[in-house]
Amino acid sequence: MKIAVCIKRVPVMETKFAIAADGTRVDDAGLKYDVNDFDLWAIEAGLQLKEKNNNVGEVVAISLGPDAAQEQIRKALAMGADRGILLQAGSTPADGLAVARALAAELKDGGYDLILFGRIAIDSMNQMTGPMVAELLDLPCVTNVFRLDITGTTGRAERALEGASEVVEFPLPALLTIDDGLNKERLPSLKGIMAAKKKPLEVKPAQLGEARVAVQKMVLPPERAAGRILGDSAAAVPELVKLLQTEAKVL
């Protein structure tokens, strides 16, 4: 089984963000980066599928991003992916379609049985690149997968909806986006980290096309002011109910 996992370098979110001087992006001074959480679960899914297949096959980690994203690809390799490809781009366009086109160009003739993405990249929060790549490559596509079973060339998945879920069947090759809840990612072992240094990592320029979506402005949302502590037991309940009625007007 040949599996591609598309991963994104994103800032660590436990950070206080500031807006850059040009007013259209976050200031990257002092930011730390990691693999997008959902992509880690996609890598784990790929590794488990290969293991189930008696380790026959290959897991390829592919990223589009700056040169520094080699660091995130190395993490995937340390977890157990076989090789990596970096599609080099100075900055990632805000337009998901521009990114999807560059990824699709790389994936097109790769002969992959499965292409995995995370459900959403938590920096852009676009949640569109995976299904766009599926469309460009004319592949069956299932998004938000939190249960997965592959038998031969048939897949069965459960995808999360709002307060419900759908059980979906599809033929391989296919593209899936992975949701929280499918698995917990493994930590790279020391042996894995050493091995990763020797695994192939190909770097080539991304073929980015025209972008139709641009960030005009970026701001920080207004801070929420800390509210009032009304008491330390059920005795505070009447006061709370009164405030919900008169002040918040939600009751």
Binding site: P11, M13, E14, I19, D37, F38, A94, D95, G96, L97, D123, M125, M128, P131, M132, A134, E135, P140, C141, T143, E158, A160, L161, E162, G163, A164, E166, V167, V168, E169, F170, D179, D180, G181, R212, A214, V215, Q216, K217, M218, L220, P221, R224, A226, G227, I229, L230, G231, D232, S233, A234, A236, V237, L240, L243, L244, Q245, A248, V250, L251
Partner: protein, 329 residues
């Protein structure tokens, strides 16, 4: 002037509230761009056309009804082909979707088929010089970007609950349409829809959310949250990841960075510490109430009202008080 095509979301044969929000957004877009007409696509099993009235009530000048047994469940391939065919006809300036699991699955496929721009998950928008500019959260909800779309048709999806459905009644006009591809031939097949919390209101539709955390100690204690939600009558129950990891609640109830993003009028956090990943999914709620026995819990930093106390003591009292208030009200 630009006409707008809007996808009206259906689940289990029922029109969802987000469909009315999407039609409201489409109406606003048409009006803002100088008064085009709004066409809503309503797809489902034969008989779905009976749900068209609510779409006309909220501003659809016509409802394009797509009936076929192949649409009894969500059929992404045939829907994407049909919507792309319509939107690519030259008739439309904008395409509007809900930023739900369905809408965020479908809209990128349509955008890729047509090679056009998509602005996802907007919480607000305007039209400037004929182009849409919209607000979109990124960095896990810590920044807000203004996205500008060029080209036509421009596609966008609207975050659930970001705007309330507005009545803008039009006479009911329906037109039967057919699928661009054979709906039975789609490769991706939904074989089962598992409705969570049957009969309960969905998290994104609920004006009130009662969310429970690990402070509830066990799955069965979620009865406390259920009872409080029932007392409100219009509330849904959500959970933290600690809770869904324990298997106390289904994955689809999880609120936060890797779960659902919600913005109800009232969010009651019951035994929730307020980890940054949880806050990411609920900090846009209008009013936040926290009940936690630890006075230093981070949840109190963003709550409007807090009670430092034991949930097993405070929540039943609150349930009784809400019932009493509603009985009077």
């Amino acid at each position: 002037m630009a006409n707008v095509l809007v996808f009206a979301e259906v689940r289990g044969g029922e029109l969802r509230k987000v469909a009315l929000e999407a039609v409201t957004a489409a109406r606003q877009l048409a009006d803002l761009s100088g008064g085009g007409s709004v066409h809503a696509v309503l797809a489902g099993a034969p008989g779905i056309g009976a749900k068209a009235e609510a779409l006309a009530q909220h501003g659809a000048d016509s409802v394009l009804v797509l009936e076929h047994p192949g649409f009894a469940q969500y059929n992404p391939e045939a829907l994407a082909a049909t919507l792309a065919q319509r939107l690519g006809s030259g008739n439309y300036g904008f395409g509007v979707f809900s930023a739900t699991a369905q809408g965020r699955d479908l809209s990128p496929r349509v955008a890729a088929k047509l090679g056009v721009g998509l602005a996802p998950d907007l919480t607000g928008f305007a039209v400037e010089g004929g182009q849409v500019v919209g607000q979109h959260f990124n960095m896990n909800g810590k920044t807000i970007a203004t996205l500008a779309l060029s080209g036509s048709p421009a596609l966008l999806s609207v975050r659930p609950s970001a705007l309330q459905p507005v009545v803008a009644a039009r006479p009911l006009v329906t037109e039967a349409i057919t699928s661009a591809t054979d709906p039975s031939a789609s490769r991706v097949k939904v074989v089962e829809l598992k409705q969570g919390n049957t009969g309960k209101i969905d998290l994104n539709d609920a004006p009130v959310i009662v969310a429970g955390g690990r402070g509830l100690k066990a799955a069965e204690n979620f009865k406390l949250c259920e009872d409080l939600a029932d007392a409100f009558g219009n509330a849904a129950v959500g959970a933290t990841r600690a809770v869904t990891d324990e298997g106390w609640r289904p994955h689809s109830d999880q609120i936060g960075q890797t779960g659902r993003n919600v913005s109800p009028n009232l969010y009651i956090a019951v035994g929730i510490s307020g980890a940054i990943q949880h806050l990411a999914g609920m900090r846009t709620s209008k009013t936040i109430v926290a009940i936690n026995k630890d006075k230093d819990a981070p949840i109190f930093k963003i709550a409007d009202y807090g009670i430092v106390g034991d949930v097993f003591d405070v929540v039943p009292a609150l349930t009784a008080a809400v019932k009493a208030a509603r009985a009077q009200g």
